[in-house]
């Protein structure tokens, strides 16, 4: 789950990381009011869950409250990479001397969290990493011990931070580590962490991503998820514990297991079709979940055929069949449906579906071929 900049910075602030004064606004009037409160120059920043906001014109500096209102009005009517801007953050503008990159993420290859820093912070950090990797410092943290004080000092030294800022930097490093740890983040990123003209360290921008699998112990974070940023079908799918991504094709796919779901899409494409979605019903899905998945697939008006590929292991074929029958009674689908059912309790499942008027297939290739033909009306 991605957090907005303003949400991430609020969390940073709780862990003692200095952030600019500011608040979030949904209208130009609110933005003006906040700018009046802050006094002086302010930055109006679009709050959307994609990168590259600045380059898209979604970040502007305003000299006075009237300009703040004007820019907020402009930004609030923008779309950035397809996402409508619904909120702006109004922050006091900082006098920047230098920009640092600073983050923690999971290094899956090392099986450890890694703290990353660079003196060459700012919007071009990926370019820096690709062309001059020696300018990027990476320090792995033992997950059983946590961040050691000396590691924070080492990072400060290796990015040539002035010595008088080491103590403040160590506090920020420790705050970032605790924010990452206590929210089950997969990313906690400050870019840029700036040195201001008056020699203070301030986190000007922040991004956090939270591990969806850990939300059971973070009810407060689960609540602030911005569902406006998702396709409604994706929100609905998550409510049922389904993994769903909408695509542009016309063959709906329901599969158990992410790898097999991707493979089913690959093979649909290999035989000349276009998948309408990625949908993994997960392991051990019951009839309710299967019925919900089917409703979501059939709610897409582009869908001309549905492919079910179920290879039972922890998922049982008879449960899937019951879910399909339940959904069919409710939705009364008009598109052809191709089913391939193998593995645990597949026999029982096939018996349940005998009178369901579905096209059956033996192999994956056979199922994909039949689904592609059905979508083309053959």
């Amino acid at each position: 789950m991605k957090l907005h900049e303003y949400q991430s910075k609020t969390i940073f602030s709780k862990y003692g990381i200095p952030i600019p004064k500011g608040r979030v606004a949904a209208t130009a009037d609110e933005a003006k009011h906040i700018a009046e409160e802050l006094g002086g120059r302010v930055v109006i920043k679009s709050q959307v869950l994609v990168g590259g906001r600045g380059k898209a014109g979604g970040v502007k500096v305003a000299k006075n409250p009237d300009e703040a209102a004007e820019f907020a009005q402009q930004i609030l009517t923008m779309h950035i990479k397809g996402l409508p801007v619904r909120k702006v953050l109004v922050d006091e503008a900082a006098a920047i001397e230098h920009e640092i990159y600073f983050s923690i993420t999971n290094d899956r290859a090392a099986k450890k969290p890694v703290m990353i820093a660079s003196a060459a912070g700012g919007v071009d950090i990926e370019e820096v990493a690709a062309t001059t990797p020696e300018k990027i410092v990476k320090v792995h943290i033992d997950p059983l011990l946590g961040l050691r004080d000396y590691q924070a000092r080492d990072i400060a030294a290796s990015i040539d931070l002035p010595r008088e800022l080491w103590r403040d930097f160590s506090k920020i490093a420790s705050g970032l580590w605790r924010a990452y740890l206590e929210t089950d983040a997969t990313l906690a990123e400050i870019n840029p962490l700036v040195i201001t003209k008056d020699k203070r360290l301030v986190a000007l921008d922040g991004k956090m991503m939270i591990d969806d699998n850990a939300l059971f112990r973070h009810a407060d974070l689960a609540e602030i998820r911005d569902i406006d940023e998702e396709a409604p079908a994706e929100t609905e799918a998550r409510r049922h514990g389904l993994s769903f991504i909408k695509l542009d094709g016309d063959i709906g796919c329901m599969v158990n297991g992410a790898g097999l779901a991707m493979t089913s899409m690959d093979i649909v494409k290999l035989f000349g079709g276009e998948p309408a979605n990625f949908l993994d019903i997960g392991g051990g899905a019951g009839a309710d979940k299967v019925a919900a998945a089917m409703r979501i697939i059939l709610s897409d008006p582009n869908v001309k055929a549905v492919l079910f590929n179920i290879f039972g292991g922890i998922t049982r074929g008879d449960e899937v069949a019951r879910g399909i029958l339940t959904a069919m009674e409710e939705v009364k689908p008009k598109v052809p449906m191709v089913i391939r059912l193998v593995g645990t309790n597949a026999e029982e499942g096939r018996k349940l579906l005998e009178n369901a008027n579905m096209i059956t297939a033996e192999t994956l290739a056979d199922a994909a071929r039949k689904a592609v033909a059905a979508a083309k009306g053959n």
Partner: protein, 287 residues
Amino acid sequence: MSILINKNTRLLVQGITGNEGLFHTTQMFAYGTNVVAGVTPGKGGEWVLDGKVPVFDSVKLAVDATGANCTCIFVPSRFAPDAMFEDADAGIPLIVCITEGVPVQDMMRVRNYLDQKKVRLIGPNCPGLLTPGESKVGIIPGDIALTGNVGVVSRSGTLTYEVLYALKLVHMGASTCVGIGGDPVNGTNFIDVLEMFEHDPQTEKVVLIGEIGGTDEDKAAEYIAAKMTKPVVSFIAGQTAPPGKRMGHAGAIIEGGAGSAADKVRALEAAGVKVAKHPEEIPSLLQ
């Protein structure tokens, strides 16, 4: 011969009295796996499978009483990390964790702890292990695989079944099938298993099933080019997957641009691996 498990494996099942645990214990037992004990805290003293398998309150008690040397975990994700710590402390050398959805920070702590204790973990979020005709630990349907000389290793669950089934249809069988799981932080990677297959006399050929994300397949390709004498055939899932809506730069800094299916296919082909266009093409590439 086989790798990791065989007919002498003495299996413990954690979460044995739960819905999934009991269902799959029944299947493992019917397959011939030597299921010696189960653990469900608070249900010690009970028996399952018509009095054939005793249930204990803790892993330590189960190991002391039965000599279990492998465990299969079916407990819910929020309890799975504790189950794995408990196994390591009780001296179990091989853990197979079926549970999906374990938080990744928990998995980093578990993995680092298990490494210190020299415990081998398969999974989490995996289908487990199958040595056809001898032992099955996990949820791979037993009837979809024959005994044979093909070693199978996979990051995916159900896609693994697809491959075993495709092999069976042309009367090819597996020495051992290892589902290493699809989570970002897991216990065993491709290279670990490739090395075991390379040294296993029964295994003559290897199938490696990967998917998009991470760099595990690229590292496997390097290992295959440098160390493997046995032929390897592969399939990579996610050729048509849309690129994720990424935010933040840290992932790109850590992994570079790697992780796409096309990159992985290129790396494997450069290492002399035949890569199938779809899973049902694998048997013909093995011949």
